[in-house]
């Protein structure tokens, strides 16, 4: 949404304060999907469909800004954990630790493969004839968020590559005589407008969750958005303060969810329910069931539930499955409706 672009006082060059996550009006499904992806990296990315100006990138940015600063080995361009010092292509053995903000990388539309995966460091090559690796955006996004606006306009091979890295958590570069491998674990968030051409189904399927964002239709919501934007613009620091408590709540929820996730298992009967739901809606492939299981667990963990129940599975079913349904071109019914109908039939 425009929130992120709403300027602050005058024309100072100082960094813009990000919009607080909890101050975002509505968009509950997207927020939930982002939180699930934030605590469960195995989900493998969130695809956000929606028109321009609906707050897609604002929510993603806000979540990144919300996360507490993360400790990294000082001077490490790969965001190594302090205990991982010296394990990346950089000899990051300073022995000191620094806290840096959780990275949020916005992948530009025309990004070249060089920029994304990294390439030969031209400057060092020129200066000293040294063969060195210049890390790309994937390294920059490690332990953070990688946001791709209009992913449907990105070249297919890049999308493929990004999904591969997102799934494996590792970037492997074999080019220009370089052979480099580094960690690249991030929450992949793609956004796109179906009006402008669609993503190929085989790529779509590889996103864990997909949500549909619509512009708020309630007048009160729209006015509230305008009010909050005006308030944030007038006094960004004060506004951040006002929402600090709410943001802290979300943060605690994330922390609790992360802790809880390890101990939660999905019971047999919920797995069975998930499988029958997938069958009922004809979701292609195994990815649907796996994601559904992981997302239910993460959602239960976020809510602090003691066990994973059917209701947790059902509430994430639309976002885990809607992009995996085989399209029947002659059937106008939207994917979400088909899933809801199946839920109604199966579980009443």
């Amino acid at each position: 949404m425009a929130l992120a672009l709403m300027p602050l006082l005058g024309h100072t060059a100082r960094p813009m304060a990000r919009f607080p996550f909890s101050a975002i009006v509505g968009q509950d499904e997207m927020k939930r999907a982002l939180l699930i992806a934030a605590i469960e990296p195995a989900i493998g990315g969130v695809m956000v469909f929606g028109d321009r100006g609906t707050g897609k990138s604002t929510a993603a940015r806000a979540l990144a800004a919300l996360m507490p600063p993360m400790p990294v080995a000082e001077g490490c361009r790969y965001h190594c954990l302090p205990e991982q010092q010296g394990t990346c292509p950089d000899p990051c053995t300073s022995g000191r630790t620094r806290k840096v903000p959780v990275p949020f990388v916005d992948l530009p539309l025309g990004a070249t493969e060089d920029r994304v995966v990294g390439a030969l460091d031209l400057e060092r090559a020129l200066r000293s004839g040294e063969k060195a690796f210049e890390p790309g955006l994937l390294a920059k996004a490690h332990r953070g968020f990688l946001y791709i606006d209009e992913i449907n306009l990105l070249e297919d091979h890049l999308v493929d590559l990004l999904l591969d890295v997102a799934a494996s958590g590792e970037n492997l570069v074999e080019r220009e005589g370089l052979s480099v491998r580094h960690r690249a674990r991030f929450v992949l968030i793609g956004s796109g407008n179906p009006e402008e051409g669609e993503l190929r189904p085989q790529l779509l399927d590889r996103f864990g969750l997909s949500v549909e964002v619509r512009t708020p239709v309630e007048l009160d919501d729209r006015v509230e958005i305008m009010r909050r934007c005006a308030a944030q613009e007038a006094d960004p620091d004060g506004f951040t303060q006002d929402w600090h408590e709410e943001d802290q709540k979300v943060l605690r929820q994330i922390a609790r969810g992360q802790k809880k996730l390890a101990s939660l298992t999905v019971p047999e009967e919920v797995l069975r329910d998930a499988a029958s739901l997938c069958r009922a809606v004809n979701a292609d492939g195994m990815r649907g069931e796996l994601t559904l299981m992981r997302a239910s667990r993460a959602s239960a963990a976020l809510q602090g539930a003691k066990s994973v129940q059917r209701k947790h599975m059902l509430e994430v079913a639309p976002m885990a499955l809607r992009h995996r349904l085989r399209r029947d071109v002659l059937d106008e019914t939207g994917s979400t409706v088909r899933i809801e109908r199946a839920i109604e039939e199966l579980f009443g």
Binding site: G10, A13, P15, P108, L122, E123, D149, P194, M226, L330
Partner: protein, 557 residues
Amino acid sequence: MAMDPLADALLAVRLFALAPRQLGGITLRGAGPARDLLLDAMGKAMPDRAFRRLPANIDDERLMGGIDIAASLTAGESVRQSGLLREARGGVLLVPMAERLRDDVAGKIAQAIDGDDGGFGLVLLDDGTTPDERAPDSLRERTALHVDLSTIRPLDPPSPGEDVLLPFTEVRPASRDQLETLAVTAMALGVDTMRAPLFAHNAARAHAALHGRGKVADEDLHAAARLVLAPRATRLPEAEPEAPPAQEAPSPDEAAGEQQTSGQPPEDMVLEAALAAIPPGVLAMLASGKTRRSAGGGGGRKAQSKLRGKPLGARPGMPRGGARLALVDTLRAAVPWQALRQRELSEPREGVLVRKSDLRVRRFEERSTSVTIFAVDASGSAAMARLAEAKGAVEMLLAQAYVTRSEVALIAFRGNGAEMLLPPTRSLTRARRALAGLPGGGGTPLATGLTAARQLGESVAAKGSTPFLVFLTDGSANVAADGSPGRAQAKADAHKAASAIASAGLPAVVVDIAPRPRPEARDLAAAMAARYLPLPMADARTLSAAVDAARPKGMAA
């Protein structure tokens, strides 16, 4: 309520000058003296801001900053250049010929605007003349003010006016009621994006600042509605019953004719201000529901021109077999190794040492996008039943198309004209919407339909894509090319139009959808040198398979 367009344009420029960051930017559409005048006024109003111009064919290094290869080679050491986006920070970035801006460049500019380190005021100079030719949507969306100068002929430049200027931040945010008014107006005009009401709010505040008011007044809201909301309108208020809260929205007639009265609720007055700013032609289009969301341009075509205009970069390879050497990329590949290679030589050599492995060739779209153009006879004779089949076939082909990244367009002809229901697109969503709105019945203006398909085919070919025409008709015509009824003339015209397709060399297929195959359709196919497929009992699936089979070889679905 009618405002002098030039005075309004000037007002927009002054608002922008007052609060470039809060308003994001301004889109000036249409070249000419009016624009020069406005740019002049803008420069005067913002004396302390740096203006940067975006060169037409800017490369990544210049845009984002990076190593200047040419300078580095000369200097023998790495020379960095700063990126234009960074240089423009805090100032104004002028984008000439914005309608030709590549999507990837537009994306990077949009990102710089949204980014963390503050942006710049963006001025889009859009020289487009047709609705398809316009600045990238991603950037237009991020400029609050849209000014169309194409109809303005400045005679006497209005004086800029001496206003009391308050700093933008001195103006208090609008009241809840005022915000509501802007939000209602935006919704009534079918403006979905949330950026628009946010921008409108800032525009109202800037307008108040311009007039030395510390508080937003009604006229500030009116100005905001005119300058920010009206240009984004996608429909007229009456089309949206649930939009206004209590009162029903005024019908366009009332809005246009009625003078504003003090008894009117403020929403209506603001809406009226917006409506008054919409040019009559656009108003008529909105009223007829013609523009839909794709009011000129739209994703499909955008994506296509992107594919054509954007080379895919370079890749290692030998420059032979038609592949062109990418000089800069080759040098870029060779440069890093120079020190090493010099060392390997027994005696130093002058110049750049290029090895075979450094060679890069240019890569363009490997296979041009194929565009399947369906021209559907939606007349009464072609029977409503067939129309459903045709719709199904189009959707089916589209579903295949998005796997192979090809596109589909849809033309329908009935009554006395042909209509492009769907410009070339890959979007299933838009296709479905267009198809759902396809009406049937009326006469058969076959010639008009054939001509419309040919023209679209030619324009597709001119853009570098491969057209393929599919006609679904029973071949009978009863409306002539000029719209007059009469079988004989209609038939003659249709054959003339068909031969034109043949001489244009467009690959085509005629699918006879008559209940029983008839000679008319066969003759038609012969005249346009197309394949003839009689499909009396075809359903969508067979139709789609048949079309697929008839497609020229080498063209993906």
